[in-house]
């Protein structure tokens, strides 16, 4: 199986790569259009600010490549946020792969960023969350979020309820960092890699 991590020039590329490799899969980090198109599974990683990240991936021609993909694609953290239509962070249009917009977390009186291990409050029946339940913790680090909608696969609560995961067609996104979420995160990565086309 060909697994590709899109080289978005962001900082967590190698932790994601190691996370996939720990599960016994080979993985390529690339921004090559052909290699991405031909992969069986594609990761879209991202950390940092949406405005800067969109600028970088536009320079690389990544939006057109990703928008044309038919195979399962998993966006992680900022990568998930970039899959939506718009982010308030830098007031930037995103990839438009999954309906929704990114807005600051309404964390009345709570500290931001939402940083640390949190549980999921609702989990829809999805191959991505096979074997995951509400007692499992995932590592989150973010200050903006996607509100729950019909495209939400799982929710998390911090000040407000927000989407911990979203899905539309072949595009999946998780707000948490599965590569840094111990065994439960590894299970989500494994679920994605084992998912049928």
């Amino acid at each position: 199986m060909d697994v590709v991590i899109i080289d978005t020039s962001c900082a967590n590329l190698s932790s994601l790569k190691f996370g996939v490799e720990r599960l016994g899969y080979k993985v390529a980090v690339t921004d090559n259009a052909e290699q991405i198109k031909n992969a069986d599974k594609v990761f879209l990683p991202g950390v940092g600010a949406a405005g800067a990240a969109m600028r970088i991936i536009k320079e690389k021609g990544i939006p057109e490549i990703v928008q044309g993909l038919q195979q399962p694609v998993l966006g992680i953290c900022l990568g998930m946020q970039l899959m939506t239509e718009h982010s308030a962070e830098g007031n930037v249009d995103c990839l438009g792969l999954i309906p929704g917009t990114v807005k600051p977390i309404k964390a009345e009186g709570l500290r931001l960023p939402h940083m640390g291990w949190n549980t999921l409050t609702e989990i829809k029946d999805s191959p991505l969350f096979e074997g995951i339940n509400q007692q499992d913790y995932f590592y989150f680090v973010h200050s903006l979020c996607v509100a729950p909608s019909e495209y939400t696969l799982a929710t998390c609560d911090y000040g407000q309820t927000f989407s911990a995961s979203i899905h539309h067609k072949n595009f999946y996104g998780v707000q948490f960092h599965p590569e840094r979420s111990g065994k439960s995160g590894a299970r989500v990565i494994q679920n994605f890699l084992e998912m049928k086309q």
Partner: protein
């Protein structure tokens, strides 16, 4: 609910994990990667690696071990020590660290916090603060270059002013090392951390003084910190991670079970 974090801290010197008392007299504890793996398996929520020689002797430290840790462990970790520029930070983050922590270089150039924030995002910019309670002036004072006792010096900042300043500059998290307590296992400096909490709107991590399980209970319940960092109690197996976490859960502190 968001869990409070238990964070073993590994002081690194020349590629080995060391531990001193009150920042001094360092003894070797063991190799980095096996220790990191052990703590991750035991149920640590996050790890911090402080390259304690780095800031003090102004050399570029070999950070190849960062990549070896990132390969092996599946929990977040932060690297501190010797990060003075965007480029220093980029190398460490690319090797797989989730966060970088700056201390003395932030004091020398507070703009560095903002530059790091804008380049890599607020979430990976941690500011470490070494704070010493001066009994004579009844002030909490910020120190720098604490990795080397010959160069350790007081700055002109009081701790709470500096906490406010680093937040203005864009810090995503603050680790407050209470120097009077460090390594002596008498408990966290609850009074100081409570005061820090009042002015700190980003995650606050307590450091210095953990010696018993009740110290963790107190620091979470009374000082309301987001995480508690400790070194010697874990290195010397004074506290077992599973017992610590179970006790905290029984005390109704939100904790990710082992």
């Amino acid at each position: 609910m968001l869990a409070r974090r238990i964070i073993p801290c590994l002081d690194v010197r020349d590629g080995k994990v060391v531990k001193g008392v009150k920042f001094r007299n360092h003894e070797i504890i063991g190799d980095i990667v096996p220790l990191a793996e052990k703590y991750a398996e035991m149920g640590a929520d996050e790890l911090v690696f402080y390259d304690i020689t780095a800031s003090s002797d102004s050399r570029v430290v070999d950070k190849a071990w960062v990549s070896r840790i990132a390969e092996q462990i599946d929990i977040p970790f932060c690297v501190a020590g010797g990060i003075k520029t965007i480029e220093d930070a980029r190398i460490i983050l690319e090797m797989g660290a989730d966060k970088i922590s700056i201390n003395s270089p932030a004091l020398a150039n507070p703009q560095l916090i903002t530059d790091l924030n804008q380049r890599f995002g607020q979430q990976c910019v941690v500011v470490g603060i070494d704070s010493f309670y001066n009994k004579e002036t009844n002030q909490y004072e910020v120190y720098q270059f604490t990795g080397d006792e010959k160069r350790t010096q007081k700055t002109s900042w009081t701790t709470f002013d500096w906490i406010k300043k680093v937040q203005e500059k864009g810090a995503g998290e603050i680790v407050l090392n209470c120097m009077n307590q460090d390594g002596v296992r008498q408990g966290y400096d609850i009074d100081q951390l409570k005061l820090a909490r009042e002015v700190c709107n980003v995650p606050l991590i307590a450091s210095g003084g953990a010696g018993a399980i009740e110290h963790f209970t107190d620091v979470f319940k009374i000082a309301d910190v987001d995480g508690a960092l400790a070194a010697s109690v874990f290195h010397k197996a004074v506290i077992a991670m599973d017992e610590l976490k179970q006790t905290l859960i029984n005390e109704k502190v939100e904790i990710r079970p082992c």
